[in-house]
Amino acid sequence: MTHVVTENCQACRFTDCVTVCPVACFHGDDERLYIDPEVCVDCSACISACPVGAIKEEFDLSDDEERWIEINASRAPDLPVIRSKQSPLPTAEARRSELGLN
């Protein structure tokens, strides 16, 4: 079991999650973050830290979200670890409003 970053991180990339990760399992490219399932300890701290509810436990994914398991697992190891909060993407606030989450 692991945790995965899903759809909502796209166009947001708030990165609040990385500050509560006890094991530095978040990696990122310019668009979004990914969780390395080999490193994640399933503590769930990141779930409530994400302002747009992008992070879910593998167990809680809907059928069309299942693809994110593979995307996180394959992308994370090749990308740099993100440990410190970064500025959200310029589109983040608009995207958050669109999702009805502010």
């Binding site: 509560v20 006890p22 399933d42 701290a45 779930i47 409530s48 167990f59 989450l101």
Partner: protein, 462 residues
């Protein structure tokens, strides 16, 4: 040797918040000494995290990596107030971070709460995890029913430990003395009781799900408890609170399950404990049935007038931890925390110079391990901005601490010595097919720490 002018910081407490503060300070170029009362580091990761959650304990590898930094030193077996005072530390270092956690437990405040057979979850958890202060507690598992008061993750941990068979626990790092006592347990029914409803429970979805996957215990609940009022529905529908909604979905899957196992976990909601009763020891708990009132996220439990009685020979109170005061440091006794502004300790309206706070003693006892990282980052950020206005450090740092300890014949356990304890525990565990068998007395920890390096000092708190 560190460069002249390097900031020197003492962190009191070696749990997650202490280590995350140390990590951030090391990254900022400071020299960091972590001071710990016990010879062993890692706080609640060692003494709180349940033995059947080994994955979570792997954060110790991250802490060990932090401890490997050239500007880091560990001073185990050094108690603030006993071996060194806060005023001395403030003189030795540029700044002191109190990260001592919340070691006491909150009281229920109901009659009978201290009857024999009623314990705090803190005591029980510390005991099965081998905390030296709790090694000699005794628990009686000869009854058939236990009540756990509280709906948080600690309550669920206690519930699992009571509901699992000894065979399920044998390969974990649960202490041998606990395994032995639990082997005699006759507990068949565990009641997990909360004052409010399923939408307000504090547990995480992950922990709740585990209750439904126990090999030897069915999960039982009253379906009427899952009928929610409009306010609770509104709470669950709030997209910012993903976890309660997820938990509620899991509770739904517990409905109407067949009874097929020898034990049962009974989930109860809307029951507020009124009194613990029994002749000389606890025999039952009386509850007021409650109904919720108030707006979303501020609902309170009001008694309906109906009384519910649960038979129980063992009661575990899991209604939260509470911080304890440190001599010479401001403290708010009501919240059990140190008053602060973004981690800077406040003495009334004025900042206490060079004094900072992080973790549960700063914000209260809630939030999983990782939440303490964000908390410690905030504290360190505040400290660094305070440092920016000051001349380079003239503080003597760890040399002064070492001299003071030597003058008092206190022998600190450094990180290498802790690793000898660790190695000895892992070796003792391997013989039993466990990840480790913990030492449960300070004297045994010290003997392992200093094995082959001269006489071991007597501890004064063994």
């Amino acid at each position: 040797m560190t460069a002249p002018g390097t900031r020197k910081v003492a962190v009191v407490g070696s749990g997650p918040s202490g280590f995350y503060a140390a990590e951030a300070l090391l990254e900022a170029g400071a020299e960091v000494d972590v001071i710990e009362r016990l010879p062993t580091p890692f706080g609640l990761v060692r003494f709180g995290v349940a033995p059947d959650h080994p994955k979570l304990k792997s954060v110790c590898q991250n802490f060990t990596q932090i401890a490997g930094h050239e500007r880091f030193a560990f001073f185990g077996n050094v108690a603030l107030g006993r071996d060194v005072t806060i005023d001395e530390l403030r003189g030795f270092y540029d700044a002191v971070v109190i990260a001592s956690g919340a070691s006491a437990d909150r009281k229920l405040g109901v009659p009978g709460e201290h009857l024999p057979g009623s314990w705090s979850a803190t005591e029980f958890v510390s005991w099965y995890n081998g905390h030296p202060d709790f090694r000699n507690r005794t628990f009686d598992f000869s009854c058939e029913a236990a009540v756990i008061l509280g709906h948080g993750n600690v309550a669920i941990d206690v519930c699992r430990i009571l509901s699992k068979s000894v065979d399920e626990l044998r390969r974990t790092d649960i202490c041998a003395h606990a395994l032995e006592a639990l082997a005699e347990s006759r507990i068949r029914d565990v009641h997990l009781v909360g004052r409010r409803g399923p939408a307000q429970a504090k547990w995480t979805a992950k922990e709740l799900r585990e209750i439904g996957m126990l090999a030897e215990a069915d999960v039982v609940l009253d379906e009427s408890d899952l009928a929610l009022g409009a306010t609770c529905e509104a709470e669950l529908a709030d997209p910012r609170g993903v976890t309660p909604a997820q938990s509620f979905k899991i509770l739904r899957t517990f409905q109407g399950r067949p009874r097929e196992r020898s034990k049962a976990v009974h989930l109860h909601f809307n029951l507020s404990p009124r009194v613990l009763e029994g002749a000389g020891r606890v025999e039952r708990v009386l509850f007021d049935r409650c109904r919720l009132s108030g707006g979303p996220f501020s609902q309170v439990a009001d008694p309906t007038g109906e009384t519910v009685s649960l038979k129980a020979g063992a009661v575990f109170r899991s209604v939260g931890y509470k911080g304890v005061a440190t001599d010479g440091v401001p403290f708010d006794g009501r919240s059990g925390t140190i008053p602060h502004e973004r981690g800077r300790v406040m003495d009334g309206d004025a900042p206490a110079d060079g004094l900072y706070v992080a973790g549960w003693i700063k914000r209260g006892p809630s939030g999983v391990i990782g939440v303490n990282r964000a908390c410690s980052l905030e504290t360190v950020e505040t400290m660094l901005s305070d440092f920016a206005d000051r001349p380079p450090s003239q503080a003597p740092g760890r040399d002064a601490l070492r001299s003071a300890l030597a003058a008092r014949a206190v022998r600190p356990v450094d990180f290498t010595s802790w690793m000898r304890i660790d190695e000895a525990e892992v070796e003792a565990g391997a013989a039993l097919g466990k990840p480790r068998e913990k030492f449960t007395s300070v004297d045994k920890m010290l003997a392992a720490a200093f094995a082959g390096s001269g006489p071991v000092p007597q501890s004064c708190c063994a």
